[in-house]
Symmetry: C2
DNA sequence: TAATTTTACAGACTGCAGTCTCTTTGTCAA
DNA sequence: TTGACAAAGAGACTGCAGTCTGTAAAATTA
């Protein structure tokens, strides 16, 4: 780690922290890049050497949190015997995390940005830990004779992901005017019932 | 209808038609407002007296199509005896219409724009015919003892809408790299199974 | 029919994300 | 040590959606 890299990393950190703080104080769309660089005494050049876009700075942090948190969840569900229970608890913890820690504006922004054509998608990265956790549940839940086996585990994971995206999209759309924690259960229980033997 | 109004309506139509043609030729995001007004020999002033935004011109047409088509669907499903069958057929026809007639870019654009905070949402308008059709199915399907009755029809409609949004969001996200017509069945059958007695 | 008001429209202007070019300064090979 | 190179950063510039102000002509009122 030489002098130049150290300084560069510091600049990146400075920009990232200021930006995230501002996103939090206002909302993502109300913060401008000019504001961020003014606040940090940097420049457009500095900003765009470190981040591909204004969204990128946001997604980078999100990835970090997402990975960390999802990995934590694995341990919390591992003690459940039934995979259907693991799934239910996992989904509940996810929704709780999203509602309490991430919040509405974060989800709204991510779901909006993911549909931008120019940018590369985060949801489509195949090795998100979220995907392997779900797949594991369905593979083993089928072996355990809990889930139907006329659908492949991959198919079931797709169904589950689409259902999650549906409620999260709706939550973002409605500006969080219902509680994810309270309402996710109805939808997911219907889905799980449809997936069981 | 006086002279001024007639001319204004003509201008609006001219802009709308040119814009929709261009959106179709390229894609929504590749067409600029400047291009539209140049093509139609009009001006920013003209454009923005008739449309609230570039998205608006698009949504206006979409509403029209949506209403027309959804109203048509009512008749096509009315002959089915079982409400669960009505629901399944309705969903299949919807997905077919979306995949064949609307296309991926239209759905992508709408789902993206709906998450914009500044604009008023189309999905949240309570009297979309889509909503009354679904509600009718659940109300009568419950009376008919087909669907479970520990969930209100409104709740069931929410579940159904969220599931639809989930698959459509995913389809838009994946740039239509799977066929809605072929794949919607797995998801919706799981949902319907979860909703049945 | 003259005076006043309204409105469709023209086009200059603003705000913002993102790009491009140029400069400075640290790094590395000889 | 020095000369070539690379990479961090500065800031002017571009492209685009949307706003603002001014104007001509139609509609309305007197």
């Amino acid at each position: 780690m030489n002098k130049r890299t150290t300084k560069a990393l510091l600049t990146k950190k400075k920009i990232s922290e200021a930006a995230l703080r501002l996103f939090n104080e206002k909302s993502f769309s109300e913060v401008t890049v000019d504001e961020i660089i003014k606040e940090t005494n940097t420049s457009k050049g500095a900003f765009y050497t470190h981040f591909k876009s204004k969204h990128d700075i946001f997604l980078e942090k999100f990835k970090e949190i997402d990975d960390y948190y999802v990995n934590e969840l694995v341990h919390l569900i591992a003690k459940e015997e039934k995979y259907a229970d693991r799934l239910e608890i996992f989904l509940r913890l996810q929704m709780t995390y999203i509602e309490k820690d991430l919040g509405w504006d974060v989800i709204r922004t991510i779901y909006e940005v993911e549909l931008n054509i120019e940018r590369d998608s985060f949801f489509l990265i195949p090795d998100r830990p979220l995907y392997s956790i779900l797949l594991d549940i369905f593979v083993n839940g089928q072996k355990n004779e809990e889930f139907r086996n006329d659908l492949s585990p991959e198919k079931m994971m797709d169904i589950c992901l689409r259902t999650m995206r549906g409620i999260l999209y709706d939550w973002a759309l409605r500006k969080a005017n219902f509680s994810l924690i309270e309402e996710h259960g109805d939808l997911f229980r219907v889905m799980i019932r449809g997936l069981m033997k």
